[in-house]
């Protein structure tokens, strides 16, 4: 009986699985999946596992924990009704939905929406953040565990265009980067209680980039905060600053990471190795030709890929940042590409998904699928499928 009780108590954590996609750009925020059975030619008739309607707008990525897919949306005349929805990954049926009222301002640019930041999960809890700075923590069954109205707490932390930075959870701390012209801070919130563990002031400048986990000295994970001033690495448990890179960075595309190296949208792309003994970081190279536009860069094995304003995919090597080839795609793009194996998955703003085979000498488009609706949000990969979301629908594409 003790075993039964233990089973009951421990049921929720068991739901989480290795193929989870628990945050923006998935495990470690790399955007790279270890899935090996994804479709590459994309045929609507063969590969559409399911498509389901969403009750509101959003560009947050779906996140996947075990057999559940979590999506956020916003609806209503002022986009002030906030939705957190859990779907079954298998058939797209809805398990539960919770709705809340926004307590902060909801004004956004027409391309952004209040459901812009991607949720995060530690495998037991879901942390859903909205542009109104409303933050909800629910268990995987939809039970509200705590909430915060961060614009109530910090009233000038808003951006008329909307906020989009996605939080990360590490060592029991949810790190949320909220930087606007009026008020800017990063807060470490205790994942269990919802109370601040620490809060640090940041440069007052609008910033849409997301914090990123990167391996620092002695293998310890640190949080890299990107802003117009550059990169600040902090200890996620205390918020203490560890090191700074001060040569500026973009406030729209976030850095890419692979292992102990950050590929920062700074003066094109600047590669920073972060696990140096006795030194905060080492600048490996800088490549102005690899400058990304809105979508964040991604590193796939020894290649770095960026998308420019013209919808051209730039491929460089990660050793010295040399551009290897360019491939014109059908843009424009806001969503960040993802990768599995040697395939790159992209979706443009018109909803055209494209697959690029990176094993070809200069890359080659091998698959296309027109989803027929504007898509701004980055897709997700998990449980053998790719998930795309628009303002109206959520799709699961998988191999048959």
């Amino acid at each position: 009986m003790t075993r039964i009780f233990a089973f009951l108590v421990c049921l929720t954590p068991l739901i989480a699985q290795a193929s989870d996609w628990r945050q923006f750009r998935g495990p470690q925020g790399t955007g790279v999946s270890d899935e090996t059975q994804l479709p590459t030619t994309l045929d609507a008739g063969k590969n559409l596992a399911w498509k389901t309607a969403l009750p509101g707008r959003g560009l947050s990525s779906p996140i996947i924990v075990g057999d559940r897919v979590f999506v956020t949306c916003s609806s209503g005349a002022n986009q002030d009704r906030l939705h957190v929805i859990c779907f079954n990954a298998g058939d797209g049926s809805k398990r539960w939905e919770r709705q809340f009222w926004a307590t902060g301002r909801t004004t956004c640019h027409e391309k952004i929406s209040v459901a812009a930041p991607t949720s995060a999960s530690d495998g037991e809890r879901l942390f859903a953040l909205f542009s109104s700075n409303d933050l909800f923590c629910l268990d995987l069954e939809g039970n509200l565990l705590w909430l915060r109205g961060l614009m109530k707490d910090y009233p000038n932390a808003s951006n008329g265009l909307g906020l989009a930075s996605s939080p990360v959870v590490v060592d029991g701390v949810l790190v949320s980067q909220i930087e606007t012209d009026g008020e800017a801070f990063v807060v470490g919130i205790d994942a269990a209680t919802g109370l601040n563990r620490w809060k640090i002031e940041r440069p007052k400048k609008a910033n849409w980039t997301s914090p990123l986990l990167v391996r620092g000295a002695k293998g310890k994970m640190v949080v890299a905060l990107q802003a117009s001033t550059g990169i600040t690495a902090i200890d996620p448990t205390s918020g203490n600053e560890l090191w700074k890179y001060t040569e500026g960075a973009s406030t729209v595309p976030s850095s890419a990471v692979r292992g102990d190296t950050l590929y920062v949208p700074s003066n094109g792309i600047t590669a920073l190795q972060t696990s140096q003994d006795g030194a905060p970081f080492k600048q490996l190279w800088r490549a102005t030709q690899l400058r990304p536009a809105t979508a964040s860069p991604i590193v796939v094995e020894d290649r770095i890929l960026t998308l420019n304003d013209a919808g051209v995919l730039n491929c460089g090597d990660t050793i010295e940042g040399k551009r290897l080839w360019q491939l014109r795609l059908k843009g424009p793009f806001s969503a960040t590409p993802l990768a599995a194996g040697h395939f790159l998955y992209l979706v443009n703003e018109k909803g055209l998904a494209q697959v690029v085979d990176l094993s070809k000498p200069e890359g080659e488009v091998v698959g296309e699928l027109d989803l027929g609706e504007p898509i701004i949000g980055t897709p997700s990969i998990g449980g053998g499928g790719i998930y795309f979301r628009s303002d109206r629908h959520l799709w699961k594409i998988q191999k048959t």
């Binding site: 009780f5 709705q99 009222w101 004004t107 039970n143 109205g149 000038n156 008329g160 209680t193 919802g194």
Partner: protein
């Protein structure tokens, strides 16, 4: 004996856990009320969060009848608590509906119909009814075009707009115009007002949109003051210290005096570019008076792409140092205490030094509303005071 007790305790724990999981363990009415009180104690920066989380655990096990108690506890001005309570209602409702238990539909319906109940709670009750009986819910909307719940009102207004469009499709232009005009006065969401206005204009009717939305259009303005490097937002200029409509100040380009702002835009914007030319690195002040028939709390609703500060009767309400991100009607909602009679509204609006084409706007739009978004209009007294140039101190 000892072993048997341990087994009994363990069994009790297991069955309790299982019962809670299956919704078989309900809490008493007193416990529900106590939990609701704990949740209503939630405050800034997570204050009361731990207590609220414990209370929520209790509420999850409450029965369907408790939904009414929880709904009644909403709308006390604590938006965070309202979200906690909403989650409790949804959790209970989902569990009961999954089990096949009937929700207290009559009580929920009566709760909705009682317009003195909290608007958001009434809306939530309406949504529960909609899930169970959408036909009845839809019929209930009839007569809600003047409802104190903006969400219920919106749906009811939308139904009437559809009726107007049907009239139009049936070539009953007069009928359509009358319905549109009726809804123009009742709609509270700006997008709905805008849509109705477009329909009426298409039908040849004149619509004064700034007046309909209640924008304040009578201003006296002074400027430009030097705000080079963005210093103007934090700087304290003389009009912030003492309001004197007859005063002369040292401005950015010479001596400046208060002047009447003669024009406003279709969206109710008061443009500083018109009196002061499209300057950069400048600050200006706009002054108006609002005559309130009685003392009341009302909302000043402002939209601007520029950094601003707002004072009501000399009391600072809110400011935001942000330039050229976005502007929307009702972007910022500030609660203010209006006194009976004359009230003074002062706005500082700053322009930065961005040179892009899209960074030329230097304006704001402001209206006074009740919490529902109903425009409150100043009486003729205030207009009479502000219309002529005033040389006296306030």
């Amino acid at each position: 004996m000892f072993t048997r007790s341990v087994v009994t305790i363990r069994l009790s724990l297991i069955f309790t856990a299982a019962a809670v999981c299956n919704g078989l363990f309900f809490v008493s009415a007193a416990e529900v009320e106590e939990s609701v009180r704990a949740i209503r104690g939630i405050g800034a920066e997570g204050k009361g969060q731990v207590e609220a989380a414990k209370a929520m655990q209790s509420l999850r096990s409450a029965d369907a009848k408790s939904i009414l108690t929880i709904l009644m506890a909403m709308g006390e001005g604590n938006a965070l608590a309202d979200n906690w309570l909403r989650a409790a209602v949804e959790t209970i409702a989902q569990r009961e509906m999954t089990k096949g238990t009937r929700l207290p539909m009559l009580e929920l319906g009566q709760f909705v119909l009682e317009t003195s109940n909290p608007p958001r709670a009434r809306r939530l009750a309406f949504e529960l009814i909609t899930r169970v009986d959408p036909v009845t819910a839809d019929r209930m909307l009839t007569g809600m075009v003047n409802d104190p719940s903006t969400e219920l009102r919106r749906e009811a207004v939308q139904k009437t707009i559809q009726q107007a469009e049907t009239s139009l499709a049936e070539s009953n232009k007069v009928g359509a115009v009358l319905l549109f005009q009726q809804m123009l006065g009742l709609a509270r969401d700006v997008d709905q007002v805008d849509s109705i206005a477009k329909s009426l204009r298409t039908l040849g009717q004149t619509v004064d949109l700034p007046w309909t939305l209640g924008f304040l259009t009578q201003w006296k303005v002074v400027g430009p003051f030097d705000s080079t490097g963005g210093k103007g937002f934090a700087a304290v200029y003389r009009p912030e210290e003492t309001l004197d409509l007859g005063a002369e100040y040292d401005g950015k380009t010479g001596k400046v005096r208060w002047q009447t702002l003669a024009q406003t835009e279709e969206d109710g914007s008061a443009s500083m570019n018109k009196p002061f030319t499209p300057l950069k690195g400048a600050a200006a002040f706009a002054y108006t008076e609002f005559n309130s028939e009685h003392a009341q709390t009302a909302e000043l609703r402002l939209g601007s792409k520029n950094a601003f500060k707002v004072w009501l009767n000399g009391k600072f309400l809110f400011g935001q140092e942000e330039y050229h991100r976005n502007k929307a009607i009702d972007q910022y909602r500030m609660a203010g205490q209006f006194q009976a009679g004359r009230n003074i509204i002062l706005v500082k609006v700053c322009q930065n030094e961005q040179t892009e084409d899209w960074a030329t706007e230097w304006d704001f739009q402001l209206r006074v509303c009740d919490s529902l978004g109903t425009p409150l209009r100043s009486s003729a007294l205030a207009k009479a005071v502000i219309a002529p140039a005033s040389g006296g101190k306030l």
